[in-house]
């Protein structure tokens, strides 16, 4: 990727689009520390976090979901979401050994926060089920819940609506808007569904072959001729 300059403001929903292989996921991986960039810097609230290890980036307040889902199989929905609280908890050997005196209060307090998000995303009925067998729409919702309970400053959603039908997409868009409204989180939203991007994003950026081809207000970006060409091809000849 070259010459990409993104500035996401607090409380903003920022759309990121581009054809397959245009570098959307690479950009998120650079932000979250999976692939430190060769050149350039990543700043979070003014602080340089370039090349910071992913688990430290998480502690600084960046949460993300994955394009291909990254829930922990063999665990219940509740435990998966509780893991989102990891950065706010102090799990250890001694607190496990002396659970009743050392861990119970912390577990219960965090459980309450998790339950609020479970209620917010309307997944109460599946909280005790294993994530393995859930349909993809619910899995995406559980992953969003896991990212939200971390109370991030910055939330990166990598194709949260891939494979969803119109109704599920509508729900998800509503959840994202509500999350911003209630929690003041900034969102970087990667999507292929242009209707969603135009519908809920404040600003957006289009990438192609690792370069910025357009940015600004969604309405303008999607009508930009270069974006149209990148997505559906230009007129030949």
């Amino acid at each position: 990727m070259t010459g990409v300059d993104v500035d996401i403001r607090t409380g903003e929903i920022f759309g990121l689009v581009g054809p397959n292989g245009s570098g959307k996921t690479t950009l998120t991986n650079a932000i979250t520390g999976f692939y430190p960039p060769n050149a350039g810097t990543v700043r979070l609230a003014g602080k340089d976090i370039t090349g910071t290890a992913p688990y430290k980036v998480a502690k600084l307040g960046v949460a993300r979901t994955f394009q291909n889902l990254a829930l922990f199989n063999g665990m219940s929905v509740l435990d998966n979401i509780l893991l989102g609280r990891h950065i706010h908890m102090n799990p250890g050997v001694f607190s496990t050994a002396f659970y009743w005196w050392a861990a119970q209060r912390e577990e219960i307090e965090n459980r309450k926060i998790v339950e609020e998000v479970i209620e917010f995303l309307q997944i109460e009925s599946i909280r005790n089920e294993l994530v393995d067998g859930l349909p993809i729409g619910l899995k995406k919702r559980v992953e969003l819940a896991r990212a939200l309970v971390a109370e991030p400053k910055m939330l990166i959603l990598d194709e949260p609506m891939a494979g969803m039908n119109q109704e599920e997409k509508g729900y998800m868009a509503r959840f994202i808007l509500d999350a911003r409204a209630e929690r003041g989180v900034s969102v970087l939203l990667i999507e292929h569904h242009m209707d969603v991007i135009v519908g809920i994003c404040d600003r957006m950026l289009a990438l192609n072959y690792g370069e910025m081809i357009a940015s600004g207000i969604p309405k303008d970006v999607v009508s930009d001729p270069r974006v149209i060409e990148a997505y559906i091809g230009g007129s030949h000849g």
């Binding site: 979250t32 688990y55 949460a63 922990f72 893991l83 950065i87 577990e107 971390a150």
Partner: protein
């Protein structure tokens, strides 16, 4: 029906985060706890000390390995070496005059330090490579034990364990030995049960399942893997020390050789990875079945009036036990713990299983 769920309502989070959420499970656990406490008065002391006691100590040890292999998902082929460190450290400390309570903890800590130091190097690689590296640890430890007379008393020597004394009581009777083993096994089991509901347990499972997803949630995989090795080594060390102090009475290098490591791993796998009750079953199968089969074969041949020669008698249990492992893993690859879980799930809705969702 047997594991009745109706009418069981958890109205607050404390109640919902209990170890046993189904009353029947809790009642069963209490029942077996009472059986365990009463065992010395029910079971003849020969069986108590040659079957029950090693079963409980090996279960504690297997649970420790389960922590690292079942929970954190790291194959460990040098577990017996870690037990040896604990056993030798504790016995040397006790011979030096340190009270046994502290000697046991010294054993655990020594194991923990050496186990995690080794893990620190070994965890740079993953999966099968890690397994081979831990195997190297086993061989290094074997070599150290057989080549340093100050530790082991030489390659064919053995080290006498001083009389176990806990809380001012000299432990010399069969019953007392049993209670020490029982107490340790209960402690480890409680720890593992708690692990199922705390952030530590969740973090370990996260590291096992998807380390990149764990990282984005703020879980430092390397730290948690080291922590898993350290904790499991601590359990191993104390289990090794108790094993020598209450069962072998003499520590010898071959008690902690590579085949023991593999045997413990087999106990964990046959019992079921990250299954606590599974470890109890797995240890029972691996440790006790050969003896049981031996007795059965001997009594059957006597009853039939057949003369079985000694060599056949020695081989039949091995064959049966090998076959049993294969059969168990064929029926349920997730081990005996899962097999129990299946039965439990079935009985939970029986006889109304058509109502299952």
């Amino acid at each position: 029906m047997f594991y009745r769920l109706s009418g069981v309502r958890h109205a607050d989070y404390v109640s919902d985060s209990r170890i046993y959420k189904v009353p029947t499970d809790r009642n069963l656990a209490v029942f077996f706890l009472i059986i365990g406490l009463a065992a010395p008065f029910i079971i003849p002391s020969l069986y108590l000390n040659s079957y029950m006691l090693p079963w409980l100590i090996w279960t504690a040890a297997a649970l420790g390995l389960n922590l690292v292999t079942g929970w954190a998902g790291q194959l460990h082929l040098g577990y017996a070496a870690v037990m040896a460190v604990g056993a030798y450290s504790a016995i040397h400390a006790a011979r030096f005059g340190v009270p046994w309570e502290f000697a046991l903890i010294i054993g655990g800590l020594a194991s923990s330090v050496i186990g995690s130091l080794f893990a620190f190097a070994a965890l740079r690689v993953k999966g099968l490579y890690l397994a081979i590296t831990t195997l190297a640890m086993q061989f290094v430890m074997d070599w150290v034990l057989s080549h340093s007379p100050t530790i082991s008393g030489g390659s064919h020597a053995s080290l006498q364990s001083p009389t176990l004394t806990l809380l001012g009581q000299e432990i010399t009777s069969d019953r007392a030995y049993y209670y020490v083993a029982f107490g340790w096994c209960v402690l480890v089991t409680i720890f593992m049960l708690n692990l199922k509901r705390t952030g530590l347990g969740r973090a370990l499972v996260a590291v096992r399942e998807k380390d990149y997803a764990a990282a984005i949630l703020g879980v430092n995989s390397f730290y948690y893997k080291i922590l898993a090795f350290a904790t499991s080594s601590f359990i191993a060390g104390i289990s090794g020390a108790i094993l020598v102090a209450t069962f072998f009475f003499l520590a010898a290098p071959e008690q902690f050789s590579v085949n023991v490591s593999i045997q413990v791993l087999a106990m964990v796998i046959v019992g079921g990875l990250s299954s606590i009750i599974g470890s109890y079953f797995g240890v029972a199968l691996i440790l006790l079945v050969p003896g049981v089969v031996n007795t059965v074969v001997a009594s059957v041949s006597q009853w039939l009036g057949m003369q079985v020669n000694v060599e056949t008698l020695a081989h039949i249990p091995n064959a049966v036990y090998g076959a049993l492992i294969v059969v168990v893993l064929l029926i349920e690859p997730l081990g005996l713990g899962k097999l129990y879980g299946n039965v439990r799930d079935y009985l939970m809705v029986w006889p109304f299983d058509q109502l299952r969702k």
